[in-house]
C-alpha cells in the first residue's frame, strides 16, 4: 500500500538521451567543476604543517630553512595570523549549563601558537610554486615539543588534573540539561519495571569523496577576492569567513560549483580558508590548497562520538512512564561549529522517539579531548538518540518479558493526539507510527522469521531480526526565512537564484520539477543558480535535510506569484475578469460560463511567455519566500541478519524500510537518499570506527585502517513510502537526507542483538566487526 503523491517525474534530455537529473550530463562526462579543478595562471600552492602530537607545548620553532627552500614564497605562522587580525574558528552555539552559568567555550585558533591540542592541528602554512615544492620545504621544519599527557577519551579527560584549556577544569565545557528532572524521578519511583542501557555512537570519519580544498584569488581592479571552496550554502561560509578574517562581506565572493559530498562537514570555515585569504591578499597571487586524504582524516571535523546512557520506566503493563538520559559528548579539542548544538538540542528534542512519554529528562556532559574537533555528520545527534531509544526499548522488552513489537505499539503516540507536544516541549505535527510499523512487519515477513532462523541454524549460522521505529527532526533553519529570486530573461528563460547548492542531492533537478509542476514551464526554460554573489537574499544553507522543503517552498511561492502576474496578463489578453481564469497543470483556461457561445480558450505558460514582449517577461520577476521549520520524517526499518559464528561475519539478508517522508517531489532522488543513508548506517554498524591510542595518536589514519562500505555488502533495500503530508511547509514534504541512517542504525543493531542474545550477550556496541562478534560468541560457548 503505497500512498505516494508523486509529482511529475521529469527527466531532462540531452541529445535524445534520457537523463534522470539535469546535473548528470556534466558529471558523467567528467565536466564537473570541483574546487580542485579551479585553475588560475600563476597560481601558488599551499601545504599545511601539522602537529604530530596530541597535546604538547611548542618550545622552539624555526622555519627559516622552510622559507629559504626552493620555490617557496611565504611561510605563515600564528603571528602572521594575529597581525592579519583573524579570529578563531566559529562555534555555532553556546549554552547555559545546569547551574545557569555560561558554557566554557574554547574556539580553535587558525594556527596553533604555543600549544597543540590534537594530532593534525595546523601549526604553519607554506606557500610555494608547486604542492611538491611546498611539501619538500615543510620537511625542513625545525620544531621542538614538550609532550604533555594526552586525554584521548572522555573518561581520561574528565579525570585529568591538568586540563587541555586553562580554566576548564576536568575538560568539562558544560553540563547541560533538558526536560523535567523531578517529574522523571517521580516516574522512576512509580515504575514497576525499569531498564537501563548505555550505547556508544562511535566517532566516525565523514569521508565525502572530494577532499577538502580552497582556492583564493586576490582582488583585482573591480573584482573582489574570490574564494572557491565546497560549501553547504554560500551565505553561511560568507558569514564564517567575514567573522574569522575580519573582511567585510562585500570585499569577497564565495564561489561553490560542484561539491563532492558534504554530509555536514562543509558548513563552516576551516583554518585553510582563512590562511589562503591571508596568503592571496598579501602575496597578491592566487593560492590553492587541496588536502590529501590522510590529512583530511585528521583535520575534517569528525562525526558522532556520543555515549548515550538511557533508562526507561514502565508500569506493570509496559506503558512508558518516563525516560532519562545521561550522556557524554566528545567535543574534540575545541568547540567547533556544531558540536554543542549536537550535544544539547539535537540529542534532546526527540529523545522520546515516537512514544508517548509523560516525563523526559536528560543531562549531557560536553567534554574536551585531545582529538580532532567533532561537528555535524549526517544526522548530527538525531540518528544517535533514535538509536539509543530504539535499543533501549528492545532491551527493556527482553529484560522484562514484553514482546518488542507490542511494547512499541502500546506506547506509540496515538494519531488522534497529534499535533503532539512532547514532555520536553517539541511539537510533532503528525506521524502514523502504527500504520507504518504494520506495513513494515508485513513487507519484511517479520512473523515468519522463526522458520528462516531454523533454516540458518541448520546450516550452522545465527539469525536475528530487528526493528526500529524512528522519528527525526529535520533542520529548523537559522535564517528567518528562505528566499529565492526569479528572473526572466528577455528570451523567456527563468533563472532562479538561491542560497544553497547541492553536494549530490540533485537540488537543480528537484527545483526544476517544482517549477514545472507549479508554474508549468518546461525544463529547458529553467535554470537554477546557487550562491551567485550578485544576487543576495535571505536563506538557509543545506543542513538538517531541509533544503528541498525549505528552499523548495520558497520556489513554490515564487511560482504562485508568477502565476498571479500571468493571470493578470491573460485577463487582458482574453478581456475577461479574474475569476474566469483557471490555472491548472501549467495551463491557463478560460472558464466557460453557462450559455456562453465562446470557444474554449486555453494557453500554456510556455506559450504565453513566448507571446509576451521582453519587457513584459522581465516584469514577471519576483522574490519567492517561505518560512519552513522543522519537519518530522519518521519510519520503521526492519533488518534481518545472518552471522557465521566461525568468522563473526554478518550478512544482512533482508532490509525493509517504510518511511513517511511527506509529499515526494522526486521519488527517484528520495530513494537515492534513503539508499545512501542506510548504507552509511551500515558502515557505522559494522565496520567504521575512529581509533585513537592513549597518546592521542590517530591509529585509523587512512582508508587502509578505516573500513568504508563497499559495493555488494548490502542486499536490495525493500523500500516503501507512506505519505503523511505535513503542513509545516508549502510543499508538504519532510526532509529525507538523514532519515536513512536514523532508521538503519537501530534496526541493524537490534537485529544483531536478536541473533546474539540467545548466547547470553545482553549488550554490544557498534561497530559489530567480525572480530568483535566472534570474540563475544567464543566467550559464551
Amino acid at each position: 500500500m503505497t500512498s505516494n503523491r508523486t509529482m511529475t517525474t521529469t527527466q531532462a534530455t540531452h541529445h535524445d538521451q534520457t537523463l534522470s537529473r539535469q546535473e548528470d550530463y556534466k558529471l558523467v562526462t567528467g565536466q564537473g567543476h570541483y574546487t580542485a579543478d579551479v585553475h588560475y595562471p600563476g597560481m601558488l600552492h599551499a601545504f599545511v604543517i601539522r602537529s604530530m602530537y596530541a597535546h604538547a607545548r611548542i618550545t622552539r620553532m624555526d622555519l627559516s630553512a622552510v622559507a629559504a627552500a626552493p620555490g617557496v614564497h611565504r611561510v605563515i605562522t600564528a603571528e602572521d595570523v594575529a597581525a592579519f587580525g583573524a579570529n578563531a574558528l566559529p562555534n555555532a552555539l553556546a549554552v547555559k549549563d545546569i547551574h545557569g552559568e555560561p558554557q566554557k567555550v574554547v574556539r580553535m585558533p587558525v594556527l596553533a601558537r604555543e600549544k597543540v591540542h590534537f594530532v593534525g592541528q595546523p601549526i604553519a602554512m607554506v606557500i610555494a610554486d608547486s604542492a611538491d615544492l611546498a611539501q619538500d620545504a615543510a620537511e625542513l621544519t625545525d620544531i621542538e615539543f614538550e609532550v604533555l599527557p594526552a586525554a584521548a577519551d572522555i573518561d581520561t579527560a574528565l579525570a585529568q588534573e591538568l586540563p587541555l584549556h586553562e580554566g576548564v577544569a576536568h575538560n568539562l565545557s558544560a553540563r547541560f540539561q533538558a526536560g523535567d528532572e523531578a517529574a522523571t524521578d517521580q516516574a522512576f519511583q512509580n515504575a514497576v519495571h525499569t531498564s537501563q542501557l548505555k550505547v556508544v555512537s562511535q566517532r566516525l570519519i565523514g569521508m565525502p569523496m572530494e577532499p577538502r580544498a580552497v582556492v583564493v584569488a586576490p582582488a583585482k581592479g573591480a573584482e573582489k577576492i574570490k574564494i572557491h571552496t565546497p560549501t553547504q550554502g554560500m551565505l553561511g561560509m560568507v558569514g564564517n569567513i567575514a567573522a574569522t578574517t575580519g573582511l567585510k562581506p562585500d570585499q569577497f565572493e564565495v564561489l561553490t560549483d560542484d561539491v563532492g559530498g558534504s554530509f555536514g562537514l562543509r558548513g563552516a570555515a576551516y583554518s585553510e580558508h582563512v590562511l589562503l585569504v591571508l596568503a592571496a591578499t598579501q602575496l597578491n597571487k592566487p593560492v590553492r590548497w587541496v588536502g590529501s586524504r590522510s590529512e583530511v582524516f585528521m583535520s575534517d571535523w569528525h562525526g558522532r562520538a556520543l555515549t548515550l546512557n538511557g533508562e526507561v520506566a514502565l508500569d506493570a503493563q509496559g506503558k512508558i512512564l518516563g525516560m532519562r538520559f545521561k550522556d557524554q559528548v566528545d567535543l574534540g579539542a575545541f568547540n567547533c561549529y556544531m558540536s554543542t548544538f549536537i550535544g544539547t538540542r539535537n540529542i534532546s528534542i526527540t529523545m522520546g522517539g515516537v512514544y508517548k512519554v509523560p516525563a523526559l529528562y536528560m543531562q549531557s556532559d560536553l567534554v574536551f579531548t585531545n582529538t580532532v574537533p567533532v561537528s555535524a555528520y549526517r544526522g548530527a545527534g538525531r540518528p544517535d538518540i533514535a538509536y539509543a531509544v530504539e535499543r533501549l526499548i528492545d532491551h527493556a522488552a527482553h529484560e522484562h518479558g514484553f514482546d518488542p513489537i507490542e511494547l512499541r505499539r502500546q506506547n506509540f503516540i496515538p494519531p488522534a493526539e497529534f499535533p503532539y507536544t512532547t514532555a520536553n516541549g517539541t511539537l510533532y505535527d503528525l506521524c502514523e507510527c502504527e500504520r507504518l510499523m504494520d506495513r513494515a512487519l508485513e513487507l519484511s515477513n517479520y512473523y515468519s522469521f522463526e522458520s528462516r532462523k531454523q533454516m540458518s541454524e541448520s546450516l550452522g549460522k545465527l539469525r536475528g531480526i530487528g526493528l526500529a521505529t524512528y522519528l527525526e527532526a529535520s533542520g529548523a533553519g537559522t535564517a528567518p526565512k528562505d528566499q529565492v529570486i526569479g528572473e526572466f530573461s528577455a528570451a523567456g528563460v527563468l533563472t532562479v537564484y538561491g542560497v544553497t547548492g547541492a553536494s549530490g542531492q540533485g537540488h537543480q533537478t528537484s527545483f526544476t520539477q517544482i517549477i514545472e509542476k507549479h508554474l508549468g514551464l518546461e525544463p529547458q526554460s529553467i535554470q537554477y543558480r546557487a550562491g551567485d554573489p550578485s544576487h543576495i537574499m535571505v536563506g538557509n544553507g543545506t543542513g538538517g535535510s531541509r533544503t528541498l522543503y525549505g528552499a523548495g517552498s520558497a520556489i513554490k511561492n515564487l511560482c504562485d506569484q508568477v502565476v498571479g502576474k500571468l493571470k493578470t496578463l491573460v485577463e487582458s489578453l482574453w478581456t475577461c475578469s479574474a475569476d474566469q481564469v483557471d490555472f491548472k497543470h501549467g495551463v491557463f483556461e478560460l472558464r466557460i460560463t453557462q450559455g456562453a457561445d465562446s470557444n474554449p480558450k486555453f494557453i500554456t505558460t510556455q506559450d504565453l511567455i513566448q507571446q509576451l514582449s521582453p519587457e513584459q517577461r522581465q516584469q514577471l520577476n519576483a522574490v519567492g519566500e517561505a518560512q519552513s521549520g522543522t519537519t518530522f520524517p519518521n519510519g520503521c526499518h526492519v533488518a534481518e541478519v545472518e552471522i557465521d559464528p566461525r568468522t563473526g561475519v554478518t550478512e544482512v539478508v533482508n532490509y525493509t524500510a517504510v518511511d513517511d517522508l511527506g509529499n515526494l517531489i522526486s521519488p527517484q532522488l528520495v530513494l537515492g537518499q534513503v539508499h545512501g543513508g542506510v548504507v552509511q548506517g551500515w558502515g557505522q554498524a559494522f565496520t567504521e570506527q575512529v581509533v585513537y591510542d592513549a597518546n592521542g595518536q590517530l591509529l585509523t589514519g587512512s582508508l587502509m585502517d578505516y573500513a568504508l562500505p563497499r559495493l555488494g555488502q548490502l542486499p536490495q533495500i525493500h523500500h516503501e513510502t507512506m505519505t503523511v503530508s505535513t503542513e509545516l511547509n508549502l510543499l508538504g514534504a519532510k526532509g529525507v537526507g538523514e532519515a536513512g541512517c536514523t532508521g538503519s542504525l537501530p534496526s541493524l543493531a537490534n537485529a544483531m542483538m536478536s541473533a546474539l542474545r540467545p548466547f547470553g550477550i545482553q549488550a554490544m556496541d557498534m561497530p559489530f566487526t567480525s572480530a568483535k562478534v566472534w570474540a563475544a560468541l567464543v566467550q559464551r560457548t
Binding site: 579543478d37 611538491d132 565525502p208 549530490g504 562500505p709 559495493l711
Partner: protein, 156 residues
C-alpha cells in the same frame, strides 16, 4: 622530462617532473580534470582511467610509466562530435547511480573495463569488478543496477 602520451586518441605532450603522477599530468598539465583524486592509499578508484584497455589507478602511476601507452579518460569515452553518451554513462544517469559525481568518472571507467571482460556480469563479478571503487553518496545499489543496464544496452 618531456612526456608524450596517446590520450583519448590524440598525441599530447607535456613538460613534467620525473615525480609527476599520471593523474596530475592529466589534470594539471593537460586540463583533463574529469579524473579525480579522492585518496592517497590507492583505494578509492576516483582516479581510474583506461591504460591500453585496462582500468588502472592513475594516482599510482608516474606519468613516465605511461609513455607509449594508449590512455582513455572519462572525457574520451563518448564521441565528442555528437555529444551522445557512452552506454555506461547513460546507464549511470538513468539508474540514478550518481549523486555528487565525484566518484563517477572512476566508477564509469572501471565499469567499462568490467563489461569488456564480462559482458553479462553476475552479481559476484560486479562486486569484484568494482571492488577498487568507493562511493559515499549512493549506497551502491543503483550503481550495480547501472552496470546491468549498461550490459543490456551494450548487448543489444
Amino acid at each position: 622530462m618531456n612526456i608524450s602520451l596517446h590520450i583519448n586518441g590524440q598525441v599530447r605532450a607535456a613538460e613534467t617532473d620525473d615525480r609527476t603522477l599520471l593523474v596530475n599530468l592529466l589534470r594539471d598539465h593537460l586540463g583533463l580534470t574529469g579524473t579525480h583524486v579522492g585518496c592517497d592509499t590507492s583505494q578509492c578508484g576516483c582516479c581510474t582511467v583506461l591504460l591500453d584497455g585496462q582500468a588502472v589507478k592513475s594516482c599510482t602511476m608516474l606519468a613516465a610509466q605511461a609513455q607509449g601507452s594508449q590512455i582513455t579518460t572519462i572525457e574520451g569515452l563518448a564521441p565528442a562530435s555528437t555529444g551522445a553518451l557512452h552506454p555506461v554513462q547513460a546507464a549511470f544517469s538513468k539508474c540514478h547511480a550518481l549523486q555528487c559525481g565525484f566518484c563517477t568518472p572512476g566508477m564509469v571507467m572501471a565499469t567499462v573495463s568490467l563489461l569488456e571482460k564480462h559482458p553479462h556480469p553476475t552479481d559476484a563479478q560486479i562486486t569484484e569488478g568494482l571492488s577498487g571503487n568507493l562511493c559515499r553518496c549512493t549506497g551502491y545499489l543503483n550503481i550495480a543496477q547501472a552496470v546491468k543496464e549498461a550490459a543490456a544496452q551494450l548487448a543489444s
